[in-house]
């Protein structure tokens, strides 16, 4: 009888404690780790009940604010790993590293993206450079769990470059990264490459792009953060990985006076320098490099001696480019970054392509293979 009473007491205690604590605690506005605003209490009305939106949002509200939400997520990840799973929420848990299991390529989107680049090249009679960057799942695949179901990114790059034929100048960063695969070229808790990874890619492709790269000893490497927990940490909340270090490469001898102009709501905001130090105090530290992704960002090196007749680069990119621009800006006086995910207007309404000395498409495989934002160029270009 005592056992039965204990069962009853335990059950009802659990059943009442969690909701009471949840409802009593003050509610947070947003989740840093989930990078989104948490659901607010929904409005109750005949229409929100009839279309179930009230119920759906209420359930979301209750679970978004459930007490110790993130600890529960960590508990579940721990249970899954104990049961032999090697992945959590699409991220491989490797030894002291998290590696994203990027989606299988969408061949239709890939084709559309390729076509858009070819069309642009033909329209403007220019040969753009194309840098397709593999992710950690490929270059550091020896760290992945046995038999991981990942696709061959090397083959994907070869296929894409082949389909572009000679319409583009294809840049090979794969070999350069593979040669240094054991170095700290990808973050441990984030899906981006590190500044060092970007450096190796920069160094290997400079000649093809027509300039002599600076050597690593021509830079001063500064550690700006030792506790970066990135996107892959957010997805898994897995804490047993050493937090990442963010480095910046400052030219030792060159002068730089970098000004950014960011298009925002029809106007332009200004920012001095490549970096956003205030981001280092937030969760989203990668945006320390050139801020968040925006549609158009103009980067000018006003200390360049060529300011009267600037050398210009038009850069179609995803967030991987943010680690690369600090190197490119030593060889161009002006770089205009265009993020096609945030552009919905005609290219030639804000860009005069002929003004640019070079065009570079810089994408990591995940963006290029799973999304068709590049294809927007065909529609709008």
């Amino acid at each position: 009888m005592k056992g039965k009473l204990a069962s009853v007491i335990v059950f009802f205690a659990i059943l009442f404690i969690f909701p009471i604590v949840t409802l009593a605690l003050p509610k947070k506005e947003k989740s840093e780790n989930e990078n989104r605003i948490l659901q607010k209490m929904p409005v109750l009305s005949a229409s929100t009940v009839a279309d179930r939106s009230f119920m759906n949002q209420f359930e979301k509200y209750f679970s978004d604010h459930f007490v110790a939400r993130e600890q529960w997520v960590q508990g579940k990840t721990a249970m899954e790993l104990a049961s032999g799973k090697k992945e959590s929420n699409g991220v491989f848990i490797c030894k002291n590293q998290l590696i994203e299991n990027i989606a299988q390529p969408n061949l239709k989107y890939t084709k559309q993206n390729i076509q858009a680049i070819v069309d642009l090249a033909e329209k403007y009679q220019k040969k753009p450079y194309f840098m397709l960057v593999p992710t950690a799942a490929e270059i550091q695949k020896n760290k992945l769990p046995a038999n991981s179901p990942v696709f061959n990114q090397g083959k994907y790059i070869t296929d894409v470059y082949e389909q572009l034929q000679d319409k583009t100048a294809n840049l090979d960063v794969y070999s350069a990264l593979q040669a240094v695969a054991d170095e700290y070229i990808y973050y441990r808790t984030d899906h981006h490459w590190t500044s060092k990874g970007a450096f190796y890619a920069y160094f290997a492709t400079a000649k093809a792009m027509g300039y002599t790269p600076m050597r690593e000893d021509e830079f001063i490497i500064e550690h700006v953060s030792h506790n970066f927990l990135g996107t892959l940490f957010s997805k898994t909340l897995y804490e047993h990985v050493t937090p990442d270090i963010i480095d910046i490469y400052k030219p030792a001898k060159k002068q730089q006076d970098i000004q950014l102009q960011i298009e925002e709501n029809g106007g332009w905001t200004r920012h001095t320098g490549l970096y956003y130090p205030e981001r280092l105090n937030e969760k989203d530290k990668y945006s320390y490099f050139l801020g968040e992704n925006k549609g158009i960002v103009k980067i000018q090196n006003l200390a360049s001696s060529n300011y009267v007749n600037p050398k210009r680069l038009l850069l179609f990119k995803d967030s991987f480019a943010h680690s690369m621009v600090p190197f490119l800006i030593n060889h161009f006086d002006e770089i205009v970054m265009v993020d096609l995910r945030y552009i919905n207007k005609e290219l030639n309404s804000f860009i005069n392509v002929q003004q640019y000395d070079q065009i570079l498409f810089l994408y990591n495989i995940d963006t290029f293979a799973s999304q068709n934002d590049v294809a927007k160029l065909s529609a709008i270009g």
Binding site: L5, A6, K76, N89
Partner: protein
């Protein structure tokens, strides 16, 4: 509302239990009725009215059948009215698309109706019909209180996913029931067992089937194809029996003894035995209300076979409004007939282990018919399972999935048998004091583990907003 959700477990249940246990006896049914309607309306804010219609029709039919106790013609009319309306509603809301697709196949060119299926309609319709049919057959007493009848149909434990609780099973308890500590405690144990089956086992092994099902069937290695269908085999068992357990457990806490719906079906030694252990309340419903009225096995061999085929076609069709479900039902119908006629006698000569293998394999093959809605896909999947697609026996994906899911599979296999239950029962008798602590502690741990999974299912980092 769904049992395996934070809102149900941590808001609905505490509030309902509090109100229910504090309320005086006379009010308890009102509380349950409100809770049941709220629970159902939470998922179907509009179609809750349809359910109320069914309730009103059958309550009225019951009263009339009782009133016309001496007039057989009128009684029969009331029964027919109730059956036609109930089955009519079911036909429109569940089967109209299937029906139209079928007659289109024969040349018609009608637009296929797109009617959303109201939750639980297959369950509550069958439950409510059981009352009118049993009233007609004089198996149950009339329920004069509309409130009590409505409480029966809307009982939130089983309205959405069964078991199919016939009015006769609970007619006494509806009017007066007793709660007791042992009953509540037992209910809690069964509920937690069901929750664990659903959240820890079904959802997890089901994730593997979701992955494999999304692959190109023709590229699956043999091992992958088997891993996939075995994953589904366990998913559907733990999902369905988990829900039934939660329903039975909740019922017990409230003072109701619902019939069990699953009795370790995968240890069956024949398909005949399997259907006495799987979705027991459905089999029993069809037996009482279709098979026996048709004559059962008392009208000669030919008629028996016909009766069995009708029942199994309907059983298949109950599970889904699509021809592959009919095929699935007939598949079992044919096997059952064969077993009845001669197969069982042969099987009994085999060692138990082989009998279980025979039965389990046939059930697994059945699930292929159940899960794919076209003969083409069914054929492709069987080909994959038997290496006829020119794929490898085992490949990298299969190895990865084995490694990732081996523990879940072992747990699924282990708990599919009754070893654990038997051992627990005998150990508990021997070491009662030990289990006084261990049982509640284990229950608490399981509840916390399930909660972790339920919270995580809504954890959704939105990475590209900024990146």
């Amino acid at each position: 509302m769904v049992f395996s959700s934070l809102t149900f477990i941590y808001l609905f249940l505490p509030i309902v239990f509090l109100a229910y246990f504090l309320a005086p006896k006379k009010i308890k049914n009102i509380i349950l009725l409100i809770a049941g309607i709220f629970f159902y309306a939470w998922g179907e804010p509009i179609y809750v009215l349809l359910m109320m219609l069914t309730i009103t029709v059958d309550y009225t039919a019951g009263r009339l059948i009782d009133k016309f106790d001496n007039d057989n013609k009128k009684r029969t009319l009331c029964l027919l009215g109730s059956i036609i309306i109930n089955l009519g509603i079911l036909a429109v809301f569940k089967y109209s698309a299937w029906f139209v697709t079928t007659i289109n196949f024969f040349g018609a060119d009608l637009a296929i109706p797109q009617i959303a299926l109201p939750i639980g309609i297959s369950f509550y319709t069958f439950q409510s019909m059981s009352y009118t049919i049993d009233m007609y057959m004089r198996n149950v007493k009339v329920q004069k209180s509309y409130l009590n009848y409505a409480t029966y149909v809307t009982l939130f434990p089983q309205i959405v996913a069964g078991p199919i609780v016939r009015y006769g099973d609970v007619q006494n308890e509806i009017d007066s029931r007793k709660s007791s500590l042992p009953m509540v405690s037992k209910g809690i144990g069964i509920f937690i067992r069901g929750l664990a089956k659903k959240v820890l086992l079904a959802n997890n092994i089901g994730a593997l089937w979701t992955i494999i099902k999304a692959e190109n069937i023709q590229n699956l290695s043999v091992v992958s194809a088997w891993l996939g269908i075995l994953a589904f085999t366990f998913q559907i068992y733990y999902d369905f029996s988990g829900y039934s357990d939660m329903a039975v457990g909740l019922g017990r806490i409230l003072g109701f003894k619902f019939p069990e719906n699953f009795n370790f079906p995968y240890i069956s030694k024949s398909i005949t035995e399997f259907w006495r252990r799987w979705h027991i309340t459905l089999g029993s419903w069809f037996r009482s209300y279709v098979y026996i009225p048709l004559g059962g096995n008392r009208k000669g061999k030919g008629r028996t076979i016909f009766n069995l085929l009708v029942v199994w076609m309907l059983t298949g069709l109950w599970h889904g409004a699509s021809w592959n479900f009919v095929l699935w039902g007939l598949y079992f119908g044919v096997i059952l007939i064969a077993e009845k006629l001669f197969l069982l006698k042969w099987l009994e000569k085999l060692p138990s282990f082989l009998q279980v293998c025979y039965s389990f394999l046939l059930v697994v093959f059945g699930w292929v018919l159940f899960e794919f809605d076209s003969l083409e896909k069914i054929g492709m999947y069987f080909k994959a399972m038997f290496g006829l697609n020119h794929t490898a026996f085992i490949d990298q994906n299969a190895l990865y999935w084995c490694g990732s899911y081996i523990v879940v599979f072992i747990l699924c296999i282990f708990f599919a048998g009754d070893i654990c239950t038997k051992a627990y029962k005998s150990l508990k008798r021997k070491y009662t004091k030990f289990f006084t602590v261990v049982t509640p502690a284990t229950q608490a741990i399981i509840m916390l583990a399930c909660t972790a999974y339920l919270v995580t299912s809504t954890y959704n980092p939105f990475l590209y907003f900024r990146f």
